[in-house]
Amino acid sequence: MRCFFFVLLTCAISQVSAQALKDITIDQSSNGKVLSTFLQDLEKVHDIDFVGDMNRLEALTVQGIEKPMRLLEYLDSFSGIIDVVKISEKVIVLADKNTLKNTLTNTKPQYLVLSEGSHGSITGTVSDAHSQSTLTGAQLYFPVSKKGTAADENGQFSISTPNTPLVVAQVKFAGYDAETLIIGWSKYATETRLTVKLFQTSKELEGVTVTAERINENVVSQISGVEHLSIETIKTIPTFMGEVDPIRSLTTLPGVSTAGELASGFNVRGGESGQNLVLQDGATIYNPSHLFGFFSAFNPDMVSDITLYKGAGPASFGSRISSVLNVSLKKGDATRHSVSGGVGPVTSRLTVQGPLIKNKSSYMIGGRISYVNWLLHATDDIRLKRSAANFHDITAKVLHTFNDKNFITLSVYNSYDDFRLETDSVFSWQTFNATLKWDHTFSDKWYSTVAVTSSNYRSDVESQDEIEKFSYYNAIQSFGGRFDLTYAPVEETKFVTGLESTMSRLEPGKLTPAEESHNIPFQDMQDQRMIESALFIQGDAKLTDRLSVSAGLRYSYFVRLGREDIYTYDYNNMNGRYPSVVDTVHYASGAVISTYDGLEPRLSVRFLVTPSASMKASYYRGYQYVHLISNTTSTTPQDYWVASGPMLKPQMGDQYSLGYFQNFADNLFEFSLEGFYKTIDNAVDYIEGADITLNPILEAGLSQGKGKAYGGELFLKKTRGKFNGWLSYTYSRSLRKFDGQEATDIVINEGKYYASAFDQPHNVSLVLNYRVGVRGFFATNFHYSTGRPITIPVSKFSYDVYLSVLNYSQRNEYRIPDYHRLDISFTLKDRPHKLSRYRSEWVFSVFNVYGRKNAYSISFDRYGKAKKLSVLGSVFPSITYNFSF
């Protein structure tokens, strides 16, 4: 019988507790009770949960109930002082308006309640409300505690929460409407992760900021020398012919300069173009340019964000000593199909995305194509009729989610260029990259990534000359894999360890004459094979409230393998300018020719002087085992890669930096001043008179010496408001010294330091943006830099049968004219329709407003007379129409 009563009682309680919130009624008997106590009683009886700071309600009592009424109806009577929000049938949020009013913005807050187990530390994802693509760099900020974090490349974040029942959070991302969240925790809530969806800006262009990270990211970030740009920010900078160019956008930031006018190669803190590691979804892009640098290789519609590490970067990156440019591609929308694109005067682009399996798999594929040729061929000018320029690229990414802990992505990139300009030679180059990546989450604190990549680049020259017809190419093929394991126990503490290995085959150059051409000899430089591997560990930790450290160690190992003939040289017995070849050793396929290895420590320390000011110091060491050989200052498709070996040692770079970062007026203004000093061992330069193209003894024509670069970077930015923008100024020097300390080294410029080809002491960028009304956006970009060094003929003489023998200056003794340019653009967005998926905008831009004839290159005829080529020596207006739906 006892058992029977117990069962009845249990059933009765269950029935009561199963009562939905909307059905709960109260009566006059509750009058006089303290409100908080009253609610706690209800929780017990009805198995419901009131989320909020009950202490704030202690001053309130229940009163005025004259007849039975619904609980929700009664609580509404407190709406003047309490926000009452029903989350579910068991959970209701009660937020004290007086407490919240200081932290809320004008936007209406969203209330979210998570599972009680997630209180103390929350994880989540920020994504685009329309496309569902994750928003890398979106910021989550707690205004009360002044803490925040930024979403990683997968749009995910993790942050510890204040120990309060309700937390106000602001979520922002450039180009999107900000969201205010009021987050609570309940035992009845099932969601353990925060899912935030942001809508693209419709009312105002709030997010025109340089960084799309924490509001004070520049001050509190642990790693110095990092530049982060979201694609939305990149799109705000005026463009050439309407084509958004991520790399050119980077050059508006301190410490980053261009190799030449419109060259997509770039130089970081006095480094060479070939010392930058350019990654797109983990695969190396060896030539990041289209049309000889007129446009960059990255499809702006496909790019999620861009991070540039000035230096070797964290220990998980390696193989280049000047910088790492990490480009992340967006993920496709797994819920619905959408299209975006743009139509410009010389290029157009189209991107399509959508689900393959709804909510599990998605695709995103985008392409760009140029159509300059029909313009060329429509003219009557015979030179233009004989000229041609084409490029196209296709970028695709497929995502498949197995479950909330496993997903894979496959990224593919294919590009092709060809270019003929009043010559009989057709220059073409193509890239094919692929990345397959598996992300696995073990727990909230442990996750891993396994990736395999393939990077392929080939550059061709087809001479159509009737007399000297030939085909030439150089190429590099790489295949690699890597594993990253991450442990993030608490906020601002993260450890990453992993390993990677890449096999590469390099073809430095092969020239094949046409069958009927007897004037050109067949030439083939030997293929080179190499494996580069590394183990790394990186730890980011907050030691105290003020002090945090990011430290890493990388061990890299390089091996060069046969099949190859390796020459031995006698530098005491010169053949002209080259040392004599005294022996040839044949290495069979797979035989080890030479090995190198090295430890690469990375350390970055941040000290918060005040909550809005910090000092940062860093040291990076990196090894580079491949070398980009170029006989020009600007990056060109004919540049080729060679591997380190018995004669050519790896380059080693050490960089030291010290900076002061300060934000003013509630992060409205950012200021930074950073100095750096960099040394390079085994820097490569060519010896006097060396033939560095198709030279079978190329290494004999190269010499290795020392390099150093130093400078200061000043950055001032207004982050928001109708009028915003930034000013960056860099003073830097980049010097080389080849003093012949080793027998195999050749003396250049009498063994004294001389300016490298990338030495540009003064570099200024000014970006100003002004919002016009709710749909218009005006942007300007001014850039100035010192002309780059050049070796020029300073005199001439006649000798024997030659009327003019040129006598050149010391290497890089002179400079081409200084460079400056002003661009403007005006963007007009369509009228916002929240319910419409169609978005469009017109971009009117003027490149080189005052028509400055900047030098693209300066060449000399055989008599030494200089000619300045200004490729873009005029004003270039353009109109571009962008759309998405």
């Binding site: 003219t379 000018d381 009043e422 030679s425 005199s795 049968v801 000619k867």
Partner: protein
Amino acid sequence: MMKNIRFAMVMLLVVGCIEPYQFKITDTDPGIVIEATLSDKSFNDTKSYPSDGRYFTVKLSKSGDVTNVRPVTLSYATVILTSDQGEQWTYTEEDPIKKPGIYKLFNDDFKAAAGVRYKLSVTSPDDVFIESDWQEMPVNAPAIGPVTFQETTTQRIILNAVSDVKGVTSKLAIPVNETGETIYYRWKFLPTWLYDAPLASTTDAMVKFCWATTSLYLRDYTLQADNEGGYNKDLFFMDVEQNERVLHEFSALIEQQVMTEDYYYFWKEMQELNKADGVFATPPYNLKSNFTSSKGKAYGYFGVVREQGTRWYFNRTDLSYSIPNWLPEQCANPCGPGCPPPPCYNCLRYEGGDVTNVRPSWWGR
């Protein structure tokens, strides 16, 4: 209108603009340029090639800025050749007015001796002293081989069209190299040919037949670093159609120099620097010099070579195919005022080279 706008836009985009640019050169002091070669063949020896003979010559000039067109010669300098045996020879400026900067060693029998080192010194009128390194001729120098020719065809762009051009390639037999050392050859050429003024009377020998000589035709030299020998080396190509030089007898004095490796690369680099090679151009560099100067810069190279010479004759009748003498018909064609051109009736008016109506003593096969 749209077409013009489109054209202008594309022109700007693709062609850009090229305009002269002038650097402010900070180092404008001219250097002294010295051209000097010494060989083991004296004036009298060279006459046996056969030729008119040549004295050892030193040419002095000054470097100029890149906007300067004409080289500036250096006169009234003192040029002395010194041997490591303590002997000295002085060069004499041939004619400071008509041939300034040309200094010759007027000694019919002097020649460089094997095993002896030489150096050249120049003292300019303003007391700048320039001196070369010690130089010595190479040990080995094979005899110059026979010269033959091969009928060949090359392609040239004529009036925007590619045309086959018939010609001959002269070839020199390179002896087998059994020395085990690299032999560095340089060949230079001095052509002479018989010019027949078609409209001149056959009885007027003074204006009918002339011999023209010029260093401007076949002006480039040929180089070869040889390790094996035993092959025919291409020396030069000469077209045979529409080339008045080969209508009658053509001759080329072929001078072979065997030199040191450094001297060889001096010539090789000079040749490479003067080749237009846009796509694969070598980064700029300066030629090496073995002169040192007490003040300012000195350019050039003093070399001591082993020299041999031979004379090669060619006539269009040597060809396996027929080449008509097109010149008489061309001179006979009416062409308006000033016709026929003077060279048609007076060979001394021929401007293809230095012309003489005196038959060279060595002329004829």
